[in-house]
């Protein structure tokens, strides 16, 4: 297959003091795919994701989105460029409402002088938009969109965080350990949500330790080891034990880029 990747990284280096978290790391994401990123603890998965999502800045290397070089100084800049991240902690403000959380940093203002001079928020428009986006994701049973996020269950919160990530013209969605804190049923709901996003054509980067989940939904698996990409494998041609063996160094891959 000869497609152009939507998001690439070449030669990323990130050092924290004497620790090299990213060591000349490469990365490719193709349109419409689910790419899982797996790796042992400390392999540098988080640093890679943070560099792509704008949470940290790489010391060296280049990131390209749709072929254009980009550099993000903050998560907000990455979001504006179309890279949204659903963090493991979800990054929701528990005491704020579902609407407020969805619009944090991107609030809509009332038209006319009320918005321009008094900077008043357009709450009805924000409510309508939030409800529409939650509907799109099949989260339509939310009755009270003004209820505080802390009164929701874990799966519901995840749903709000995903809706926020997918709502604002995203080109890429990064999901960091989305099922780590959830039970069997809620995990299933979130995995279905991920597949639904993919069906809408959104490429997804999925970071997970859960091999069954990874092998079920991923199109390709990026194995991260010692601060760089060791290989990308096709989950249909490898077993979970292969993947674990690669990421722990128990086995060397024959072909480093078979699935690309």
């Amino acid at each position: 297959m000869k497609r152009d990747p939507i998001l690439t990284a070449r030669g990323l280096v990130k050092r924290y003091g004497r620790v090299t978290a990213l060591d000349n790391c490469d990365f490719d994401l193709y349109p419409g795919e689910i790419l899982a990123v797996i790796g042992d603890n400390g392999a540098g998965k988080s640093s890679l994701i943070k560099a792509i999502s704008g949470a940290v800045q790489a010391d060296e290397g280049e990131i390209r989105l749709e072929g254009r070089p980009v550099s993000f100084r903050s998560p907000l800049e990455a979001q504006d460029a179309g890279i949204s991240t659903v963090y493991q902690t979800l990054a929701l403000s528990p005491a704020l409402s579902i609407v407020d959380n969805m619009f944090v940093g991107r609030e809509l203002r009332k038209p006319g002088p009320l918005g321009t001079w008094l900077r008043m928020l357009d709450k009805p428009a924000m409510r309508a938009f939030a409800r529409e986006k939650l509907n799109d994701l099949g989260l339509m049973t939310i009755q009270d969109i003004d209820q505080a996020v802390e009164t929701l269950s874990g799966g519901q919160r995840q749903g709000v965080a995903v809706a926020r990530a997918a709502a604002f013209g995203s080109k890429v969605i990064i999901m960091d350990e989305p099922t780590a804190a959830l039970g069997v049923k809620e995990s299933r709901q979130v995995l279905n949500l991920i597949l639904d996003l993919k069906a809408k054509g959104l490429p997804i980067i999925l970071i997970s330790h859960n091999m069954p989940h990874v092998f079920e939904v991923a199109d390709r698996v990026h194995v991260h080891r010692l601060g760089k990409r060791l290989c990308t494998i096709d989950p249909k041609k490898h077993t979970m034990s292969d993947a674990v063996a690669y990421m722990t160094g128990a086995k060397q891959p024959d072909d480093v880029n078979e699935a690309a």
């Binding site: 949470a55 903050s74 998560p75 907000l76 979001q79 991240t85 963090y87 902690t89 979800l90 990054a91 929701l92 403000s93 528990p94 005491a95 704020l96 407020d100 959380n101 619009f103 944090v104 940093g105 991107r106 609030e107 203002r109 008094l118 900077r119 008043m120 928020l121 939650l134 994701l137 099949g138 989260l139 049973t141 939310i142 009755q143 009270d144 209820q147 505080a148 802390e150 009164t151 929701l152 269950s153 799966g155 519901q156 749903g159 709000v160 926020r164 069997v184 049923k185 299933r188 709901q189 995995l191 279905n192 949500l193 597949l195 639904d196 069906a199 069954p212 079920e216």
Partner: protein, 361 residues
């Protein structure tokens, strides 16, 4: 779910296939039956300002019964407003900081320092009063920004930062004033504008000072900012969970800095009002007012852990303190019992806050 998921073959591991038969809604919001106490808890969780409103209503009713007509007179009720106006405005500034999960021990010190600066400039140095006030407003904002800088850039805890700047501003104030008050008649002669907020509107027995009106205007303006603008939502988000707010794309340091700067400006406005309230400018006045402002905020149901509560609660908190003081005084109760009662109010208010925060769906 979209159509695609309904037509697709069962996904997932074999152990999950039974899930196909289970409830497929991703986020259903069930209404479970709650007991009356749970209903109250939920109601208060949605509207944390209800507590101080109820307490204020009950205490006005109770003192009306105890102290009778003396308490309920229009004169006394407007006097309470007048008495709490300075602490009230400081409590508005304090609320801003506490909503960000901080605390500001320096609010009263900023206020007194700015009243001394405005007084020195206008009374002794012949600077026109409006200019002197503008300098004080700029100075208050600057003092607040200094707190904000130490909290966001030097990364000191707000408690330590403002404990330090409290002493610094207090010492500067003693130095600039030579520990001398500026007398009322000197202000009248040189710059009567400084005492503007001491003017009153008399309606029958009611004596509404401009300072009381200013307090209410300050609260309404800040309420608007906090509830109707994106900036206000960001203040709540930062106070609720700073890291989450940062990841969600808020420039948290910038938000915090603006909060501290605005709080400093509000303190400078309180300085202007305090000159009208006291009549003279005393460097020794309001030494404990920072603690009283925290009292008003806490009784007003604003959480010390940040991100929860309405700024109007602090207005009601300040009024509750005023009502207790006035009512107990009119009932001829020794002043020490006023202090005693306020102490219990603080403890009960925080206990209620903790209980409300435990709410779950």
């Amino acid at each position: 779910m979209t159509d695609m998921t309904q037509t697709a073959p069962p996904r997932g591991q074999s152990f999950e296939h039974d899930l196909e038969k289970s409830d497929r809604t991703v986020a259903a919001f069930e209404r479970t039956k709650r007991g009356p106490l749970g209903t109250i808890q939920h109601g208060l969780h949605g509207n944390p300002t209800l507590v101080p409103v109820i307490v204020l209503g009950l205490s006005i009713a109770a003192f009306g019964l105890i102290a009778g007509g003396k308490f309920f007179s229009a004169f006394n009720l407007t006097l309470i407003m007048q008495q709490v106006s300075i602490i009230g405005i400081l409590a508005a500034a304090q609320s801003l900081i506490i909503l960000t999960a901080g605390i500001d021990l320096s609010v009263a010190a900023i206020m007194v320092l700015m009243s001394v600066i405005a007084g020195n400039l206008a009374v002794y140095m012949g600077v026109p009063a409006p200019v002197a006030l503008l300098v004080a407003f700029a100075g208050g904002t600057g003092a607040g920004l200094m707190n904000g800088f130490l909290v966001t850039k030097v990364k000191l805890p707000p408690f330590i930062t403002t404990l330090g700047t409290w002493s610094i501003f207090y010492a500067l104030n003693l130095w600039l004033s030579g520990a001398q008050s500026i007398r009322s008649q000197d202000i009248d002669k040189a710059a009567p504008l400084l005492k503007f907020f001491g003017n009153t509107i008399a309606i029958g027995n009611a004596r509404v000072t401009y300072g009381s009106i200013l307090m209410i205007v300050v609260f309404l303006a800040l309420w608007f900012l906090l509830n109707k603008t994106a900036w206000g939502r960001h203040v709540y988000a930062v106070g609720d969970d700073k890291e989450a707010a940062e990841l969600a794309g808020i420039r948290t340091d910038r938000t915090l800095l603006s909060v501290y700067g605005l709080a400093g400006l509000v303190c400078a406005i309180a300085a202007w009002a305090s000159i009208g309230r006291v009549g003279s400018i005393s460097p020794q006045a309001y030494y404990e007012a920072n603690l009283h402002s925290i009292t008003a905020v806490v009784i007003g149901g604003i959480s010390l852990f940040g991100g929860r509560g309405s700024i109007l609660g602090a207005l009601f908190g300040a009024l509750i303190v005023g009502v207790f003081q006035s009512g107990l005084r009119l009932a001829d109760v020794d002043v020490l019992w006023q202090v005693f009662a306020i102490g219990w109010l603080i403890i009960i208010a925080v206990a209620i806050d903790q209980w409300i925060r435990k709410v779950s769906a």
